[in-house]
Amino acid sequence: MIVRVLDPTHELKAAGVKSAARLSSLEGKTVGFISNGKEGTKSYFAQLERMLREDFGVANVIWRTKSNYSAPADAHILDEARRWHAVVTGVGD
Protein backbone atom coordinates (compact mmCIF):
# COMPACT_ATOMS: atom_id res chain seq x y z
CA MET A 1 0.00 0.00 0.00
CA ILE A 2 1.37 3.37 -1.00
CA VAL A 3 1.96 5.70 1.94
CA ARG A 4 1.73 9.40 1.11
CA VAL A 5 3.77 11.50 3.53
CA LEU A 6 4.47 15.18 3.94
CA ASP A 7 7.79 16.97 3.66
CA PRO A 8 8.95 17.88 7.19
CA THR A 9 11.39 20.61 6.21
CA HIS A 10 10.88 24.35 5.99
CA GLU A 11 9.63 25.19 2.56
CA LEU A 12 9.06 28.80 3.54
CA LYS A 13 12.57 30.07 3.23
CA ALA A 14 13.90 32.85 5.36
CA ALA A 15 14.33 36.15 3.59
CA GLY A 16 18.05 35.53 3.32
CA VAL A 17 20.76 38.07 2.66
CA LYS A 18 22.48 39.40 -0.42
CA SER A 19 26.25 39.40 -0.53
CA ALA A 20 27.94 42.77 -0.81
CA ALA A 21 29.69 43.63 -4.04
CA ARG A 22 33.23 42.21 -4.14
CA LEU A 23 36.17 44.62 -3.92
CA SER A 24 38.53 44.65 -6.87
CA SER A 25 41.45 45.39 -4.56
CA LEU A 26 42.16 45.71 -0.84
CA GLU A 27 44.86 48.33 -1.44
CA GLY A 28 44.34 51.27 0.90
CA LYS A 29 41.07 49.93 2.21
CA THR A 30 39.67 49.64 5.75
CA VAL A 31 38.86 46.11 6.88
CA GLY A 32 36.92 45.32 10.06
CA PHE A 33 37.14 42.15 12.13
CA ILE A 34 34.09 41.18 14.18
CA SER A 35 35.23 38.61 16.70
CA ASN A 36 32.95 36.38 18.74
CA GLY A 37 35.29 37.06 21.66
CA LYS A 38 36.66 33.57 22.04
CA GLU A 39 40.30 33.00 22.87
CA GLY A 40 41.14 31.32 19.58
CA THR A 41 40.19 34.37 17.56
CA LYS A 42 43.07 36.47 18.87
CA SER A 43 45.95 34.71 17.18
CA TYR A 44 43.87 34.06 14.08
CA PHE A 45 42.94 37.70 13.57
CA ALA A 46 46.46 38.87 14.49
CA GLN A 47 47.90 36.75 11.70
CA LEU A 48 45.16 37.82 9.32
CA GLU A 49 45.89 41.49 10.06
CA ARG A 50 49.57 40.96 9.23
CA MET A 51 48.66 39.30 5.95
CA LEU A 52 46.16 41.98 4.98
CA ARG A 53 48.59 44.80 5.70
CA GLU A 54 51.77 43.23 4.29
CA ASP A 55 50.45 41.19 1.39
CA PHE A 56 47.39 43.11 0.31
CA GLY A 57 48.18 46.71 1.25
CA VAL A 58 45.22 47.20 3.57
CA ALA A 59 45.43 50.64 5.20
CA ASN A 60 43.39 50.12 8.36
CA VAL A 61 42.27 47.09 10.33
CA ILE A 62 39.62 47.63 12.99
CA TRP A 63 38.93 45.02 15.65
CA ARG A 64 35.54 44.74 17.31
CA THR A 65 34.13 42.04 19.59
CA LYS A 66 30.52 40.99 20.02
CA SER A 67 29.13 41.29 23.54
CA ASN A 68 27.55 37.83 23.25
CA TYR A 69 29.41 35.26 21.24
CA SER A 70 26.23 33.33 20.41
CA ALA A 71 24.15 36.29 19.29
CA PRO A 72 24.32 38.57 16.27
CA ALA A 73 26.71 41.51 16.40
CA ASP A 74 25.62 44.48 18.48
CA ALA A 75 23.83 47.32 16.69
CA HIS A 76 26.64 49.80 17.27
CA ILE A 77 29.12 47.44 15.64
CA LEU A 78 26.86 47.01 12.62
CA ASP A 79 26.49 50.80 12.38
CA GLU A 80 30.24 51.22 12.47
CA ALA A 81 30.72 48.45 9.89
CA ARG A 82 28.89 50.54 7.30
CA ARG A 83 31.98 52.73 7.15
CA TRP A 84 34.34 49.83 6.45
CA HIS A 85 35.16 48.52 3.01
CA ALA A 86 35.14 44.86 4.07
CA VAL A 87 34.34 42.77 7.12
CA VAL A 88 35.68 39.42 8.33
CA THR A 89 33.41 37.60 10.75
CA GLY A 90 31.94 34.22 11.53
CA VAL A 91 35.23 32.58 12.42
CA GLY A 92 36.96 31.52 15.60
CA ASP A 93 36.32 29.32 18.62
Binding site: V3, R4, V5, D7, P8, E11, A15
Partner: protein, 357 residues
Protein backbone atom coordinates in the same frame (compact mmCIF):
# COMPACT_ATOMS: atom_id res chain seq x y z
CA UNK B 1 -11.48 18.39 9.47
CA UNK B 2 -14.54 17.78 7.30
CA UNK B 3 -16.11 19.43 4.30
CA UNK B 4 -15.02 21.52 1.38
CA UNK B 5 -13.78 24.41 3.51
CA UNK B 6 -11.01 22.33 5.00
CA UNK B 7 -7.77 24.32 4.78
CA UNK B 8 -5.30 22.76 2.41
CA UNK B 9 -1.95 21.52 3.54
CA UNK B 10 0.82 23.05 1.50
CA UNK B 11 3.72 20.70 2.19
CA UNK B 12 5.25 18.79 -0.68
CA UNK B 13 4.18 15.13 -0.67
CA UNK B 14 6.06 11.92 -1.32
CA UNK B 15 4.67 8.48 -2.10
CA UNK B 16 6.48 5.58 -0.50
CA UNK B 17 5.82 1.90 -1.14
CA UNK B 18 5.37 0.95 2.49
CA UNK B 19 6.29 1.76 6.08
CA UNK B 20 9.88 0.62 5.63
CA UNK B 21 10.28 2.76 2.54
CA UNK B 22 9.04 5.77 4.50
CA UNK B 23 11.77 5.18 7.07
CA UNK B 24 14.47 5.03 4.41
CA UNK B 25 13.11 8.13 2.68
CA UNK B 26 13.29 10.13 5.88
CA UNK B 27 16.63 8.78 7.11
CA UNK B 28 18.32 9.22 3.75
CA UNK B 29 17.23 12.84 3.58
CA UNK B 30 18.54 13.64 7.05
CA UNK B 31 15.03 14.29 8.38
CA UNK B 32 15.28 12.17 11.55
CA UNK B 33 17.18 11.86 14.79
CA UNK B 34 18.28 8.39 13.76
CA UNK B 35 15.29 6.61 15.28
CA UNK B 36 12.28 5.39 13.31
CA UNK B 37 9.53 7.93 12.75
CA UNK B 38 5.77 7.79 12.47
CA UNK B 39 4.83 8.53 8.83
CA UNK B 40 3.42 12.07 8.71
CA UNK B 41 0.32 11.49 6.64
CA UNK B 42 -2.12 14.21 5.76
CA UNK B 43 -4.75 12.72 8.06
CA UNK B 44 -2.41 12.62 11.06
CA UNK B 45 -1.19 16.17 10.50
CA UNK B 46 -4.70 17.50 9.99
CA UNK B 47 -5.79 15.84 13.23
CA UNK B 48 -3.09 17.72 15.15
CA UNK B 49 -4.09 21.03 13.59
CA UNK B 50 -7.76 20.41 14.25
CA UNK B 51 -7.09 19.61 17.91
CA UNK B 52 -5.19 22.88 18.31
CA UNK B 53 -7.75 24.82 16.20
CA UNK B 54 -4.92 26.07 14.04
CA UNK B 55 -5.08 26.52 10.28
CA UNK B 56 -2.06 25.00 8.51
CA UNK B 57 -0.56 28.36 7.61
CA UNK B 58 -0.85 29.84 11.08
CA UNK B 59 2.38 31.58 11.84
CA UNK B 60 3.65 30.32 15.19
CA UNK B 61 6.51 32.79 15.02
CA UNK B 62 9.63 33.87 13.24
CA UNK B 63 13.00 32.80 14.60
CA UNK B 64 14.60 36.15 15.35
CA UNK B 65 18.18 35.60 14.16
CA UNK B 66 17.76 33.67 10.94
CA UNK B 67 14.26 35.04 10.36
CA UNK B 68 12.87 31.60 9.61
CA UNK B 69 9.05 31.51 9.71
CA UNK B 70 7.58 28.59 11.64
CA UNK B 71 4.06 27.49 10.70
CA UNK B 72 1.60 25.23 12.47
CA UNK B 73 1.60 22.76 9.58
CA UNK B 74 5.33 22.19 9.65
CA UNK B 75 5.35 21.81 13.42
CA UNK B 76 2.53 19.29 13.14
CA UNK B 77 4.35 17.24 10.49
CA UNK B 78 7.33 16.88 12.80
CA UNK B 79 5.20 16.29 15.88
CA UNK B 80 3.50 13.37 14.13
CA UNK B 81 6.92 12.02 13.14
CA UNK B 82 7.97 12.14 16.79
CA UNK B 83 4.94 10.07 17.79
CA UNK B 84 2.76 12.86 19.09
CA UNK B 85 -0.97 12.44 19.33
CA UNK B 86 -3.14 15.45 18.50
CA UNK B 87 -3.52 16.27 22.20
CA UNK B 88 0.25 16.65 22.50
CA UNK B 89 0.50 19.17 19.69
CA UNK B 90 -0.54 22.37 21.52
CA UNK B 91 2.33 21.79 23.93
CA UNK B 92 4.81 21.55 21.06
CA UNK B 93 3.42 24.71 19.46
CA UNK B 94 3.55 26.64 22.72
CA UNK B 95 7.09 25.50 23.40
CA UNK B 96 8.06 26.92 20.02
CA UNK B 97 6.39 30.23 20.81
CA UNK B 98 8.48 30.38 23.97
CA UNK B 99 11.67 29.31 22.19
CA UNK B 100 11.32 32.09 19.65
CA UNK B 101 11.33 34.81 22.29
CA UNK B 102 14.45 36.88 21.80
CA UNK B 103 15.77 36.30 25.32
CA UNK B 104 15.84 32.55 24.74
CA UNK B 105 18.46 33.03 22.01
CA UNK B 106 17.39 29.95 20.08
CA UNK B 107 20.08 30.27 17.43
CA UNK B 108 22.88 30.38 19.97
CA UNK B 109 21.34 27.63 22.05
CA UNK B 110 21.05 25.25 19.10
CA UNK B 111 24.26 26.05 17.26
CA UNK B 112 26.76 26.31 20.11
CA UNK B 113 29.64 23.92 20.65
CA UNK B 114 28.37 23.84 24.26
CA UNK B 115 25.79 21.26 23.27
CA UNK B 116 22.77 21.85 25.45
CA UNK B 117 19.29 20.49 24.85
CA UNK B 118 16.01 22.28 25.28
CA UNK B 119 14.35 21.18 28.48
CA UNK B 120 10.55 21.35 28.43
CA UNK B 121 8.69 21.54 31.76
CA UNK B 122 4.91 21.11 31.65
CA UNK B 123 2.53 22.48 34.26
CA UNK B 124 -1.21 22.62 34.72
CA UNK B 125 -4.25 20.50 33.85
CA UNK B 126 -2.85 19.45 30.49
CA UNK B 127 -0.42 17.11 32.31
CA UNK B 128 -3.38 15.02 33.41
CA UNK B 129 -5.08 15.11 30.02
CA UNK B 130 -2.02 13.77 28.22
CA UNK B 131 -1.13 11.22 30.88
CA UNK B 132 2.25 12.68 31.73
CA UNK B 133 3.94 10.84 34.59
CA UNK B 134 5.77 13.19 36.91
CA UNK B 135 6.91 10.53 39.35
CA UNK B 136 8.90 7.39 38.53
CA UNK B 137 11.79 8.04 36.15
CA UNK B 138 10.70 11.66 35.66
CA UNK B 139 13.87 12.64 33.82
CA UNK B 140 14.00 9.44 31.80
CA UNK B 141 11.50 7.35 29.87
CA UNK B 142 8.70 8.12 32.28
CA UNK B 143 5.77 8.11 29.88
CA UNK B 144 4.64 8.38 26.30
CA UNK B 145 3.57 12.02 26.37
CA UNK B 146 6.77 13.62 27.63
CA UNK B 147 8.88 11.28 25.49
CA UNK B 148 7.23 12.27 22.23
CA UNK B 149 6.84 15.97 23.05
CA UNK B 150 10.54 16.23 23.84
CA UNK B 151 11.39 14.36 20.67
CA UNK B 152 9.16 16.66 18.63
CA UNK B 153 11.24 19.61 19.74
CA UNK B 154 14.40 17.96 18.41
CA UNK B 155 12.85 16.92 15.10
CA UNK B 156 11.45 20.40 14.52
CA UNK B 157 14.87 21.90 15.18
CA UNK B 158 16.42 19.47 12.71
CA UNK B 159 13.93 20.03 9.95
CA UNK B 160 12.80 23.62 10.39
CA UNK B 161 16.05 25.25 11.56
CA UNK B 162 18.56 22.86 9.94
CA UNK B 163 19.95 22.05 13.37
CA UNK B 164 21.80 18.95 12.23
CA UNK B 165 25.09 17.74 13.71
CA UNK B 166 27.89 19.36 11.75
CA UNK B 167 25.45 21.76 10.10
CA UNK B 168 23.95 24.51 12.21
CA UNK B 169 24.47 22.29 15.26
CA UNK B 170 28.19 22.62 16.04
CA UNK B 171 27.96 20.72 19.33
CA UNK B 172 31.14 19.09 20.58
CA UNK B 173 29.54 16.38 22.74
CA UNK B 174 25.85 16.94 23.40
CA UNK B 175 23.91 14.73 25.80
CA UNK B 176 21.06 12.22 25.65
CA UNK B 177 18.51 14.93 26.36
CA UNK B 178 18.98 16.00 22.76
CA UNK B 179 16.73 13.08 21.80
CA UNK B 180 14.02 14.12 24.23
CA UNK B 181 14.13 16.29 27.37
CA UNK B 182 10.72 16.88 28.81
CA UNK B 183 9.11 16.41 32.18
CA UNK B 184 5.91 17.33 33.96
CA UNK B 185 5.74 18.71 37.49
CA UNK B 186 4.20 16.52 40.20
CA UNK B 187 1.69 19.14 41.25
CA UNK B 188 -0.51 16.59 43.03
CA UNK B 189 2.42 15.38 45.11
CA UNK B 190 3.44 18.70 46.58
CA UNK B 191 2.09 21.70 48.40
CA UNK B 192 4.50 23.96 46.57
CA UNK B 193 3.31 26.35 43.90
CA UNK B 194 3.69 24.95 40.39
CA UNK B 195 6.65 26.34 38.48
CA UNK B 196 4.32 28.09 36.02
CA UNK B 197 2.64 30.07 38.80
CA UNK B 198 5.98 30.96 40.34
CA UNK B 199 6.89 32.34 36.92
CA UNK B 200 3.76 34.45 36.57
CA UNK B 201 1.21 32.27 34.78
CA UNK B 202 -2.27 32.49 36.35
CA UNK B 203 -3.45 29.54 38.43
CA UNK B 204 -5.50 27.01 36.48
CA UNK B 205 -3.76 27.52 33.15
CA UNK B 206 -1.49 24.97 31.58
CA UNK B 207 1.95 26.19 30.64
CA UNK B 208 5.29 25.24 29.19
CA UNK B 209 8.68 26.40 30.40
CA UNK B 210 11.66 26.07 28.09
CA UNK B 211 15.25 26.17 29.27
CA UNK B 212 18.55 25.68 27.46
CA UNK B 213 19.88 22.90 29.63
CA UNK B 214 22.84 20.65 30.12
CA UNK B 215 22.41 17.07 31.25
CA UNK B 216 20.99 16.48 34.73
CA UNK B 217 23.54 15.84 37.46
CA UNK B 218 22.12 13.51 40.08
CA UNK B 219 22.79 14.14 43.77
CA UNK B 220 22.04 11.94 46.79
CA UNK B 221 21.54 12.74 50.45
CA UNK B 222 19.36 10.36 52.44
CA UNK B 223 21.07 10.88 55.76
CA UNK B 224 19.30 13.99 57.01
CA UNK B 225 15.88 15.59 57.20
CA UNK B 226 17.25 19.11 57.62
CA UNK B 227 16.36 21.27 54.57
CA UNK B 228 19.62 23.16 54.84
CA UNK B 229 21.68 19.99 54.78
CA UNK B 230 19.67 18.57 51.89
CA UNK B 231 19.96 21.75 49.88
CA UNK B 232 23.66 22.04 50.70
CA UNK B 233 24.12 18.96 48.54
CA UNK B 234 22.35 20.67 45.64
CA UNK B 235 24.44 23.78 46.20
CA UNK B 236 27.63 21.73 46.09
CA UNK B 237 26.67 20.36 42.68
CA UNK B 238 25.97 23.87 41.43
CA UNK B 239 29.35 25.05 42.70
CA UNK B 240 30.95 22.06 41.03
CA UNK B 241 29.38 23.10 37.74
CA UNK B 242 30.73 26.61 38.22
CA UNK B 243 34.22 25.22 38.72
CA UNK B 244 34.21 22.53 36.06
CA UNK B 245 31.98 24.03 33.38
CA UNK B 246 30.95 27.67 33.57
CA UNK B 247 31.41 30.07 36.45
CA UNK B 248 28.76 32.48 35.21
CA UNK B 249 25.28 32.74 36.65
CA UNK B 250 22.14 31.72 34.77
CA UNK B 251 18.95 29.73 35.05
CA UNK B 252 19.52 26.50 36.95
CA UNK B 253 16.78 23.95 37.48
CA UNK B 254 16.66 21.71 40.53
CA UNK B 255 14.40 18.68 40.42
CA UNK B 256 13.38 17.51 43.88
CA UNK B 257 11.66 14.13 44.18
CA UNK B 258 9.22 13.13 46.87
CA UNK B 259 11.50 11.78 49.60
CA UNK B 260 13.64 14.88 49.91
CA UNK B 261 10.72 17.15 49.09
CA UNK B 262 8.70 15.81 52.02
CA UNK B 263 11.49 16.74 54.45
CA UNK B 264 11.80 20.23 52.99
CA UNK B 265 8.07 20.82 52.90
CA UNK B 266 7.57 19.48 56.43
CA UNK B 267 9.97 22.13 57.67
CA UNK B 268 7.77 24.78 56.07
CA UNK B 269 10.13 25.72 53.26
CA UNK B 270 8.65 27.15 50.06
CA UNK B 271 10.19 27.24 46.60
CA UNK B 272 11.17 30.83 47.32
CA UNK B 273 13.01 29.75 50.47
CA UNK B 274 14.89 27.15 48.44
CA UNK B 275 15.82 29.71 45.80
CA UNK B 276 17.09 32.21 48.34
CA UNK B 277 19.12 29.54 50.15
CA UNK B 278 20.72 28.28 46.94
CA UNK B 279 21.38 31.82 45.76
CA UNK B 280 23.44 32.37 48.91
CA UNK B 281 25.19 28.99 48.96
CA UNK B 282 25.90 28.36 45.27
CA UNK B 283 28.74 30.76 44.65
CA UNK B 284 32.49 30.51 44.29
CA UNK B 285 35.49 32.79 44.20
CA UNK B 286 37.19 33.13 40.87
CA UNK B 287 40.45 31.77 42.27
CA UNK B 288 38.80 28.35 42.68
CA UNK B 289 39.22 27.96 38.95
CA UNK B 290 42.91 27.42 39.67
CA UNK B 291 42.01 24.27 41.65
CA UNK B 292 40.58 22.66 38.53
CA UNK B 293 43.24 23.55 36.01
CA UNK B 294 41.88 26.91 34.90
CA UNK B 295 44.43 29.21 36.55
CA UNK B 296 45.01 30.95 33.23
CA UNK B 297 41.67 32.74 33.40
CA UNK B 298 41.64 33.75 37.07
CA UNK B 299 43.66 36.78 35.98
CA UNK B 300 43.68 39.75 38.38
CA UNK B 301 40.36 38.99 40.05
CA UNK B 302 40.99 36.00 42.36
CA UNK B 303 38.61 37.17 45.08
CA UNK B 304 35.72 38.08 42.81
CA UNK B 305 32.61 36.16 43.82
CA UNK B 306 30.50 34.56 41.12
CA UNK B 307 26.99 33.41 42.01
CA UNK B 308 25.44 30.46 40.20
CA UNK B 309 22.18 32.39 40.11
CA UNK B 310 22.09 36.05 39.15
CA UNK B 311 19.16 36.31 41.55
CA UNK B 312 16.90 33.82 43.38
CA UNK B 313 14.35 34.36 40.59
CA UNK B 314 16.62 32.52 38.20
CA UNK B 315 16.17 29.17 39.93
CA UNK B 316 13.56 26.78 38.51
CA UNK B 317 12.42 24.47 41.31
CA UNK B 318 10.54 21.45 39.97
CA UNK B 319 8.75 18.86 42.08
CA UNK B 320 9.13 15.59 40.20
CA UNK B 321 10.46 12.08 40.62
CA UNK B 322 9.54 8.74 42.12
CA UNK B 323 8.35 8.37 45.71
CA UNK B 324 11.43 6.68 47.16
CA UNK B 325 15.11 7.55 47.12
CA UNK B 326 17.06 10.43 48.54
CA UNK B 327 17.95 11.71 45.12
CA UNK B 328 17.64 14.98 43.31
CA UNK B 329 19.01 16.62 40.20
CA UNK B 330 20.71 19.85 39.31
CA UNK B 331 20.26 20.91 35.70
CA UNK B 332 22.76 23.62 34.77
CA UNK B 333 22.26 26.23 32.09
CA UNK B 334 23.95 26.11 28.71
CA UNK B 335 26.09 29.19 29.27
CA UNK B 336 25.39 31.62 32.08
CA UNK B 337 22.69 34.15 31.38
CA UNK B 338 23.19 34.41 27.63
CA UNK B 339 19.87 32.59 27.37
CA UNK B 340 16.87 32.99 29.67
CA UNK B 341 14.23 30.40 30.46
CA UNK B 342 10.81 31.36 29.09
CA UNK B 343 7.38 30.30 30.33
CA UNK B 344 4.27 30.54 28.15
CA UNK B 345 0.64 29.60 28.73
CA UNK B 346 -0.90 26.94 26.50
CA UNK B 347 -3.86 28.04 24.45
CA UNK B 348 -4.58 31.08 26.57
CA UNK B 349 -3.70 33.52 23.83
CA UNK B 350 -3.86 32.04 20.37
CA UNK B 351 -2.64 34.90 18.23
CA UNK B 352 -0.39 36.82 20.53
CA UNK B 353 3.08 36.53 21.89
CA UNK B 354 3.61 34.73 25.19
CA UNK B 355 4.21 37.05 28.11
CA UNK B 356 7.63 38.65 28.27
CA UNK B 357 9.71 37.66 31.26
Amino acid sequence: MQGSNRPTLSSKTYDADDFVAVQELFHSNGWTDGLPIVPPTEAAVEACLEWALMPPDQLIGIEPVREQPITAEKLAVNAVMAGCLPMHFPIVATAWQAMMQEEFLLHGVTSSTGGCAILIIINGPVRIEIGANATFNALGNSDRATSVIGRAIRLTLINLMDVRPGGIDRTTLGHPGKFSYCLAEDEEGTNWQPLSIVRGIPDGLSAVTVMAALAPRQIMNEWTTDPKEILETFAAEMRANQRHYSIYGGNYAVVIPKQLRDHIEAAGWTKRDIAEFLYERARIRRKEWADVGKAAIVRDRPEKIHTALESPDHLLVVAAGGPAGGFGAVIPPWMGSKTKAVTAAIGACVDCEPPKR
